[in-house]
Amino acid sequence: MFRRKFLKASALAGVGLTALGVGSVLSVRAQDAKITADNWGEMVGFKPDLSVLKVPAGTVITKANVDQVKGLLAPGLEKLVRKYELKLTITDYAPVHPSLAYIKATNDNLGKAKVWDVGKDYRKPGWTGIAAGLPFPKPKDGLQVAYNFLNTYTGDDADRLYDVTWVSAKSGVETTEYWHWMTMKTVNRTDIDPRPGIDQFASERTRSASLTFALEPYDKQGFGALYFSSLDPVDLTGHVYVPAMRRVLRQSFGTRGDSWNATDFLFEDVGGYLGAAEWMNWKLVGQKTMLLPLNSGAKLTKDVKSVIDLDKWPHWNPKVNWQARPVYVLEATPKIPDYPYSKMLLLVDAETYTVVYKEALDKKGELWKIILSGGTQSPDAKTRPMVPGFGIALDLQAEHATTVTFRKFTANQKLDPNTFTVSNLKKRGH
């Protein structure tokens, strides 16, 4: 039922499905012309139709005037405005592009990538030729969009300090945790040496390395995890450090629909979708201009309340900016048996190829969760990625949410690959 409404909304907005033929033509055009920072958006996606937005910048959309932006909001977002007091502060559209090195790599590797549907063999790789840069400018289908956001520009390494807050519509803030998370791309690097890959990870076909550990509260402090994602559609592998045991243990990580750290996020919800493209059936529903909190203006701060309205019911609403964005509407249905979501609807920003918004349906097809995130402009877009602003996983059925806000973020700081070792995990755990 919900899915039908969503599809209908897309159709009513005058955006048809991306026809195969049109996509092919666009791909040819993308290969003919050089992609630059200035034309990035229209060359890799499409220009937003700003005429559909009838309210000026500065307008605050509430349940009183939400009809003025009808058709520009996903159904779940509209529900948040109408029922859960979400307010949207409208700002002007501002284009976003990746680093110049990433753009160059996109040009250099244009046309090399090929992907295919692996069907039921979702543990077998369904791609070849994906190198640095965006693999599929002007994507033809949902699968290509999926590979685009899985290979989108995030810088070559990043270091974050962030707060996690559990909130309930009934009782407000339940608890908070404070975490540190470092990541490093190990292949298809564009910005910093070694490029394009780090040799010591090559033999294991590692895509990226992560090291994360809890800083607060005391009973969680020191817990850490070191894990590696693969170029192949297999589960994460890695180690955890358990302070109560003072040991590093090898761990099979929950990537089959487990929640992360007892939050409303599944592991794969982090960043919109963190799983493998092969695990889902992807369908490009359409492309349209919609309101999303990209360029959200969310500050890096330890004052969570300045980003999330923790004081006012329902205690999870972000206090950020929204703008009209070019969006690919993507539908994903899981191939993995017993996956908790029956279907996911993702709004993928057509410039940044980030999953800014996701609706997840339960087994009955009812709206269960909304995943929302929004970064802000990079201080130096030529060399560095956008700054993460906030993330929210909202369980509408339980009226419960988990929010993530950031205190600090650095990128492309030349993290030492030896940071991502078991020995270092143990040292950092005390």
């Binding site: 630059t36 200035d38 110049l100 543990r123 270091d159 300090l161 559990w166 339940e174 608890t175 540190h180 910005d191 910093i192 010591q200 590692t206 800083l215 607060e216 509260p217 005391y218 009973d219 297999v234 589960d235 592998t237 180690h239 302070p243 109560a244 045991m245 040991r247 590093v248 243990l249 090898r250 761990q251 099979s252 929950g254 629909g257 487990d258 929640s259 007892a262 939050t263 409303d264 500050k299 330890k302 017993d338 990079s378 130096d380 560095r384 700054v387 419960h400 205190r407 600090k408 973020f409 650095t410 990128a411 700081q413 030349k414 030896n418 070792t421 078991v422 020995s423 040292k427 005390h430």
Partner: protein, 568 residues
């Protein structure tokens, strides 16, 4: 827009919000900057002994009888008055409702990152415990002799009072610098950790095969129900870690100088305390020990007290890890070397030459012999559809030392008995299967972590006849060494309401082909109450047909336990 590649600045790009960032408290700066953090927690624990299902909700009786021969059961006796033959306990129960623990703990943990290469970590812990009735039955090192004209009742009460006070003084009220160590990283691949610390080797959860560096103090509660982190006795150590990234591993070199307080160099003997201690033996020796003289291996800088070892731990591909361990140490539990009879004296107090009372040992000498431990571990992750981690951990002890029984063994001499504890090669290994598993009809959103462990201990050259005088625990004379011992563990946990409720189920079973099986089942439910409070309620049911073997020791100690932790 001009299109040119520009490299990021050398210091990386920091997108920190300057208006909001305040490094003065250090809690929001990156870890590679100077920072100082302090955390603390206060924990209140209380528990009661309560007979549960395995006991039919009926208490066991605490009984002892004068015994003569295998079949004769005489009148009741008090093992506190007569901690030796002929008084033999039949059981050692505590009355239902008797406190099992009352403990308050305050722990403060501080960490200074002076620079990226230098940091200091410290943990200070203070604990106060209330005495329990069971402490009166602790088998403390000193046995008060009977005073002239003292009745059995008076003697028993005096010994009970003494034991209770001794336990409280020595183990229950603490203020200790648990950890205090400096981390220094002179090179990217070299780290020194110097100071009082814990070091855990090995990969299995419930067993301590390679986790043998720190001794254990489980004086306040049954060890399996408390974390090893809280039970380990930190020692002063020098740990050198050499990262060998080309081999995806690290070599740890350990030196323990042995300068800790002597008694802290070994695990606290189970007989030294009450509620969770070892009961009076049902097969006591022929003499009563007036003073247990533990020759603790430590307390000064001396080669004979030093310990050392190494561990190499590395990844073997992206699915496997392994470790190799060697450690040269001392036995962690005591071995009886000699009992010195009480010399008789004249009425004037003058010792009578060559005249000894064989009913009493003036002292019994216990040692902690040297021991080698060598072993390794292996972990492997099986991908979907198995989605599990397999672990193996094994240890070989070529010279574990066992005591002889105290009632019939030893070389009798006029002034005492000299024992001949013997070393045996011992092999331990454990297999562990760990799997996060979605059981959606029980929990639709969060997986269950399921862990199954199997452990086997084999005393390889044990001869049932020749070695029939060797016992597992000194003083428990009918607890002979088993050639093979097995332990099975099952553990499951999940959480509900996004971590607000966390149940944990632990079951341990020790099958015994020679004697009687034993084990326990423990259900703990944790509640997260806001950011600062944690409440846990635990119910533990011990089973064991033999009250003097394995976990049967605790069959009368079914417990209902609660704890409240406040985090600062």
């Amino acid at each position: 827009m001009e299109e040119s590649e520009s490299a990021p600045s050398d210091d990386g790009s920091s997108y920190e919000d300057d208006s909001d960032h305040d490094d003065s408290d250090g809690d929001d700066g990156p870890p590679d900057e100077s920072s100082f953090t302090v955390n603390a927690m206060m924990k209140l624990q209380g528990g009661l002994f309560a007979p549960l299902a395995s006991s039919g909700f009926k208490p066991h009786e605490n009984r002892a009888f004068i015994e003569s021969g295998a079949s004769f059961q005489g009148p009741p006796c008090d093992p506190i008055v007569t901690p030796g033959k002929p008084c033999s306990p039949m059981d050692h129960a505590m009355d239902p409702g008797t406190p099992s623990i009352s403990r308050a703990t305050l722990q403060i943990e501080a960490h200074w990152d002076f620079t990226r290469k230098l940091s200091l970590h410290t943990i200070i812990r203070g604990a106060r415990m209330g005495s329990t009735a069971a402490d009166e039955r602790a088998q403390v090192p000193t046995l008060l002799p009977r005073r002239a004209g003292e009745t059995d009742e008076d003697l028993s009460q005096r010994r009970r009072d003494y034991a209770r006070n001794w336990v409280k003084k020595n183990y229950y009220d603490r203020f200790e610098l648990r950890e205090f160590y400096l981390d220094y990283l002179p090179l990217d691949w070299l780290t020194f950790r110097v100071g009082r610390q814990q070091l855990a080797w090995g990969e299995t959860g419930q067993f301590r095969m390679l986790d043998v560096v720190n001794p254990i103090d489980s004086s306040w509660r049954f060890g399996a129900l408390e974390s090893f982190e809280d039970q380990r006795i930190p020692l002063w150590m020098w740990l050198t870690t050499i990262d060998v990234n080309k081999l995806s591993g690290a070599l740890e070199l350990l030196w323990i100088p042995g300068i800790d307080r002597a008694r802290d160099m070994v695990s606290v003997p189970l007989s030294n305390f009450g509620a969770w201690g070892a009961p009076y033996s049902n097969q006591p020796g022929t003499y009563q020990i007036l003073y247990k003289d533990f020759k603790y291996p430590g307390g000064e800088l001396n080669g004979k007290y030093m310990r050392g070892g190494f561990r190499w731990k590395a990844d073997a591909g992206d699915h496997a890890s392994y470790s190799l361990v060697y450690f040269y140490t001392h036995m962690q539990s005591p071995v009886l070397q000699r009992a010195n009879y009480l010399q008789r004296v004249t009425s004037d107090g003058v010792p009578i030459p060559d005249n000894y009372d064989s009913n009493y040992a003036q002292s019994a000498e216990f040692s902690f012999p040297r021991q080698h431990i060598v072993g390794g571990s292996f972990e492997y992750v099986l991908d979907d559809p198995f989605g599990m981690t397999l672990r193996f951990e094994g240890a070989f002890e070529p010279n574990r030392t066992y005591s002889q029984r105290t009632d019939t063994s030893g070389l009798g001499q006029i002034d005492g008995i000299s024992y001949e504890p013997r070393t045996k090669p011992v092999v331990n290994y454990a297999l562990v299967i760990q799997r996060p598993t979605m059981i959606r009809f029980l929990n639709p959103t969060q997986n269950f972590l399921l862990v199954a462990q199997f452990m086997h201990t084999a005393v390889t050259d044990l001869d049932r006849v020749r070695d029939s005088d060797l016992v597992q625990v000194v003083g428990y004379n009918d607890w002979r060494i088993n050639k093979n011992s097995y332990t099975l563990v099952f553990f499951a946990t999940t959480n509900y309401m996004r971590g607000i409720i966390t149940p944990r189920l632990t079951a341990v079973y020790m099958p015994s082909p020679y004697y009687k099986d034993s084990g326990f089942v423990s259900l703990d439910v944790g509640f997260r109450i806001g950011p600062h409070y944690r409440l846990n309620v635990t119910v533990t049911d011990f089973v064991g047909k033999n009250p003097y073997r394995d976990l049967g020791f605790f069959r009368d100690r079914d417990e209902v336990h609660g704890s409240l932790t406040v985090l600062f």
